[in-house]
Amino acid sequence: MASTREIRRRIKSVKNTAQITKAMQMVAASKMRKAQELALAGRPYSDILSSTLRDIGETISLSKHPLCEIREPRSDSRITVLVITTDKGLCGGLNTNLLRKVSELNPATTDFVTAGRKGRQMLATLRRSLIADFEFGDVFDFRKARQIGRFLTERFLSAQTDQILVAYNSFINTITQKPEIIRLLPLSGLMSDILTEKPIAHNLTSPEQNQHAQLHSLEYLFEPSHQEVLNILLPHAVNYKIWQYLLEAKASEHSARMIAMKNATDNAKQLVKDLTLDYNKARQASITNEILEISAAAAAMN
């Protein structure tokens, strides 16, 4: 059995670790709350944006817009994937799960754009074709999404790529995050994606559903012209989708980190408990030994 001093030293060090992970858990928890609020607050906007697009799609054919163009698959078709990961580790299997899914894509025809340091490191190690890297810290604004959106849109419009996908961890709740790969461009087919997207607060959707049959027949006018409206609305929709993905990825990151750190703290506490037991055993054993020695010595003197 280890000496009492050694055990005492280990207990001390485990306690220190527990203190650190506990602190990280608290930090992650507060960031998580903010990130979750932001991610959820954005949903009504994206919902109305989607329903507007859907309604417009009833009136005019969106498929003629360049952002909606579906290109026939060819032998040299290329796809571009935006991979949204975290900058830092210590968040459980979050990045690993996502990157495992991403690595199933054919490396020969896929180009990667990363947001987040972990994804960049991983894809660079795997020697995939990495064409751009965007950094977004813990705090970022809509401009970041616009920047990424513009880069990807230009790439799509200049026919350097035929499809743009986004890989990110969608936020379901604090305990569950799901790695997902979703198509961003071309936008057509987006209408059906949108229809199946998570419904938001019910008071928003229910009156709409009642009148849905009636609304379907509405013919919309456009001001100044449908071209001009679409030229602003569609790129904005793309940027907004990216923004929502970034927010969800952040919410997922902080949730996963909080849980990972909570587990680490719990484990450390259990370890301290076990070690304390060992320590007490060792201490008692040494006391018994001493008594034994003393009484043996006393017996020998008599």
């Binding site: 932001l38 607050a41 954005g42 009504p44 906007y45 109305i48 944006l49 329903s51 507007t52 309604d55 417009i56 809509f142 401009r143 616009r146 920047q147 513009r150 009156p207 009148q211 609304l215 509405l218 013919e219 919309y220 006018l221 456009f222 001001e223 100044p224 449908h226 001009e228 409206v229 602003i232 609305l233 904005h236 907004y240 923004w243």
Partner: protein, 132 residues
């Protein structure tokens, strides 16, 4: 009819309105119930809501979109501030910052962003000062 103004940070306004004016890209747009279905771009400016008692409330909004249906108006914009919430000093500072930014050499995108910021701040200030 129902008016709903939504920003990325949540639902800013949700109310019953008898008459609404919007800052359309082609000029001010007045909407009564049973308006013809319309989708339009909005510029930064003033949104006025008159309820059924004739009470008018003003808001400063950023550029965005409006979807108008006979019984409902949905406005998507990045910012909506009630007149009483406008911080004159902050708006003024924002305007100065935007002007300063415009003087520097920048990429097209940065210029667009600064111009948008300038238009927003200006819209807030106009609304706040007009009623004096």
């Amino acid at each position: 009819m129902k008016l709903r103004v939504v920003t990325p940070t949540g639902i800013a306004i949700e109310t019953e309105a008898a008459y609404v004016t919007l800052p359309g890209s082609e000029g001010e747009l007045g909407v009564y119930p049973n308006h013809i279905p319309l989708v339009t771009n909005l510029v930064a400016g003033e949104l006025a809501v008159r309820d059924k008692n004739g009470q008018v409330t003003y808001y400063a909004i950023a550029e965005g979109f409006a979807q108008i249906r006979p019984d409902q108006i949905s406005v998507l914009t990045e910012l909506a501030t009630a007149e009483s919430d406008i911080d004159e000093k902050a708006a003024e500072e924002a305007m100065n910052r935007a002007k300063l930014a415009l003087e520097q050499r920048m990429s097209d995108e940065e210029i667009a962003a600064a111009e948008a910021a300038l238009a927003r701040a200006a819209a807030q200030l106009r609304l706040k000062r007009r009623n004096r």
